[in-house]
Structure formats: C-alpha cells, structure tokens
Symmetry: C2
Amino acid sequence: MLYLIGLGLSYESDITVRGLETVKKCKRVYLEAYTSILMAADQTTLESFYGRPVILADRELVETGSDEILAGADVDDVAFLVVGDPFGATTHTDLVIRARELGIGVETIHNASVMNAVGACGLQLYNFGQTVSLVFFTESWKPDSFYAKILENRKIGLHTLLLLDIKVKEQSIENMARGRLIYEPPRYMDIATACLQLLEIEETRKEQAYTPDTPCVAISRLGSPTQTFKAGTLKELSEYDSGEPLHSLVMLGRQVHDLELEYLYQFVDDREKFKQTVVQDQEFFKPAPYVPPEEVDSD
Amino acid sequence: MLYLIGLGLSYESDITVRGLETVKKCKRVYLEAYTSILMAADQTTLESFYGRPVILADRELVETGSDEILAGADVDDVAFLVVGDPFGATTHTDLVIRARELGIGVETIHNASVMNAVGACGLQLYNFGQTVSLVFFTESWKPDSFYAKILENRKIGLHTLLLLDIKVKEQSIENMARGRLIYEPPRYMDIATACLQLLEIEETRKEQAYTPDTPCVAISRLGSPTQTFKAGTLKELSEYDSGEPLHSLVMLGRQVHDLELEYLYQFVDDREKFKQTVVQDQEFFKPAPYVPPEEVDSD
C-alpha cells in the first residue's frame, strides 16, 4: 500500500496521530523535499520523531523515479510524506495514477495546507478565487500569467492567494551546462520581492488589476511558532521586512465583509487609514449603481 | 490560553499529535457540534481517546455564550475543537475577537478540511473559484444566491465546490412556537437532493450557469474509511444513491486539464461518454476564437 501523508505546516508533531501510526509501520518512508519545507523540523528531527529513516525525494526522483518509490509497495507499506496536504498546492496525482497502474492500493491521510490554513488571517475561505503562483523573475524571464487570474478574481470581488516561489536544490545554468552536481543555496521569495514583482507587472500592463494602493495581507511562517500577519497596501508591503521563510501573500477582493475587516485591524499600523484604503480599493470593478426603472405614468 | 484545534475529517486519530497533546492538558474541552460531524467517531469515542470529558457546544452556546466558553481562559487552558479546520468553511473569528478583547491568548492548531482535502478527487485546488453553500429548500424558501456565484466561477473557467446543508439540533416551527425543546432528527443533504435543487434553480433562472449535462463530481464521506467519488452529469447524479453522509459536490469549470480528466476516469461509468460531456460543457463561456487581424496591404 502507498500512503500519501500530509505533514501539516510546521512542527514534526503537526502530523496526525493516524499519520504517525502509519509512518511507524511503513517499510520505507519518503519525504517530498522540493516544493515546500517543514518550518520547525528538519530531516533529523523527523527521523527521531518517527523512529525510522527518512529518504529525501527530490524532483527528479518523484517525477522520473516513481517506480523506485513504488517498488514492492504491492506487498509492503510505503509512506510518501508531503508538507501540507498531498493534494494541496502541488499535487501528486501522477504518482497515484502510476500506483494504480501497478495495482498498488493508495490511501491518503490529509492535513492542513496553506490552501485552507490561510483562513487564519481572518479572510473567509469562501471568498477566495483561484490561487496563483509567483515565480522569481530574472532579467530576461518575467512570467506574468498570474496577472490575468488576479484580474478575473478581482472583477468578481474575490480575494487571491499568491503562493511565493521556493527554489531548492537548483543548479546554476553554468553548473548545469558543465554537468556539475553543485546546487545553489535554497531561496524563498519574501513579501517585499513578491510585491515589487507585482508592481513591476502592473507598471508594464497598466490594466489596473490592482494598484500600489491595493490592500494585501502578508502571511509569514503560517502555523509556526513565529507566525506573523501584516496588512497594508502593496506599496507599503514592498518595503516590509518579512523575516524568515515561508511567506504567502493575499490580495484582497472587493467583497470585504465587516467581520473580515474587523479581524484584519489587529495586523495594521493605522486602522483608519487601512479602512480608507479598503473602501477606496472597492471602487475598482464595482458594479454600476442600481438605477430604478423610470416610472411609467399609467394614466 | 484558548486553543482552536482542528479535528480533521473522520477518525478520532485524525487530530494532530500536537493537537492531542494540547487537548490532554486543557482544563475544559469544547466540541463545536452544529456545523459538521466527525464521520468515524462520536463524543464517547473522543472522550475515551482524549481521556477527558468533552462538552458539546451548540450554536446557541458558541454564538451567545462565548463568555462561558472563555471563562477563566486567561489563567487556564481551554480547547475549542472544530471538525475540519477552525478557519475552514465555518470560521470562528468572532470567538477569537472576543478572546482578544478579554486579553486571552489564542493559538490555532490547523488540520485538513473539505476546503483543501477536496483535491483528493483529482481536480487541482488552484482551479477552484469561490465556494458556495446549498441549503435545504422548503416549499416557500429556495435561496439561490449560489447561482450567481457558480455563474461567475464558470465564466472564468473555474471549478466550484458546493458545501451541502447539515441540520443538527433544529426545532420544528411548531415546537419552536410552543417553546418545546424538542429537536428534529439530524438531516444531511445527499448528492441527489443537491443536484435536483440545482436543476430546479436552473429551470427557473434559465441563465445557463450550468445545464443538466454539466459534469460534476460527487464526494462522499471524504477522508473516511468509506470515501467515495463519483463523476457524472448533474442529471445522472440527481439519480445517484450517495449513501451515508457527509457529502459535497464539485461542479467542473471550463478549464479541465488532461491530468485532471485522466484522474476522474476512475470514478466514471463510461470514460468516452464522460470525456464527450466535458468537451461539450467546455463550449459554455468559451472565449471567442482568435481571429487574426486582416493583413494590411503595405503597397
């Protein structure tokens, strides 16, 4: 049996009781180690917590070596651990499909991921539109497919969760060209970089999907001991020191409910100013005001 | 300290290790018992698993008696358990705001909820729009605010998660009028009822937010030992026997990726027919085909 087990967000003890019991009985335990990290635990911590060796699975192993992961899983139990939930931002449906092809049973043990825990910032999960990803820009590569999606969300009033790029075990172009297995230090996009990239794209496209004054919430180290929320405009957050990773960003939609706003106040510098910002931003994409039909004189 | 602790979806052991450690040290333990249920565990199971008494918190206690829940939480630890995640579909931000007003610290221990575990059906969480709720219709009350939201999602190609009504500890109008504290048996909306209500509203509004042929996925008992997925058209699922609760429904959007479709095939009766249905449904709200600008003769 292949067990896909979510680890949650931060601590080694964020695994569920059922997840832990399962890991302990598995013959091999893989940890998917390239799309996210567990903020308050590393491989050694996990190994001592589980009492089992943990095999780090990089992108290459997962994407091209899935048969190695699945070897013998028709008779033995194999655990594939994923930070967050196995069907969160990065899904592992291809691994599941491959397992099924090989006649291997699959069971999922779910956990929290940023996709639902983001509700902790006080914005209602109900009111989120599609989620977008923001990758590190380079001089020559500035992918902006997120822009149209934010615009779509904001046109119908919805909040947008932006997942920020993580680069783990990446090679420089030079090392790759020379076939040297030397990896760059890991990079995690911070809030200021994300906001600057957003502003840069708005500057180029000028379709006003958002403006420098659009209110956002910076979410840092969600679910960890040092979890921090900070609400402000895109411009303000482009100068915000968000500290250690991981970070996500939420851009507010037009439909901000009073209870949501009330909750966000604890994360702002100036309540009155933030409220004005939200009210002002709500003018964007607002439906035209209702005009009652002209009264028809019945006489 | 007030601890908001997510219980996950089904088993008593779906609580996280950190959640369980926290429950065990709390002076009082409340279980929010009116917006969802833990499918494979009841109050007695939980009490024996935690080794502590569990107080059921109904809507009245949570919405008007929050000071009773918070009593003494400035010195003692109090746990407030929520099926799924505390910031999932039903949020408890008002309880958090009240705690903060009283100078009581709040910590959240997240868990899986339907809002992220729904990814287990194979549709990418990225491609979901706003979530909607479907309540039981009566002869005279058929609220349809979900309709415009589904239309908004589908216009921009996104999937919609529909949360189906749960009625727990509700009084009949007669018993309420007579002040008799007699409660109706709990009711959980099944897939067929949900689909019939959706079809009824489309029949009335005729704006083609969806049609009887729109593909959907029925999600039953997500995360439980008897979890079941079934994909089919709205019409087909209106005759589907979905069995024991809980259920949710996903209506597909226009952007169905090949990998999503591939995954859904395992839940359909007829692959080829389902594929045709999806292709056909994608004609709705499709952007107009690209027409290249006429060549201007430069001579």
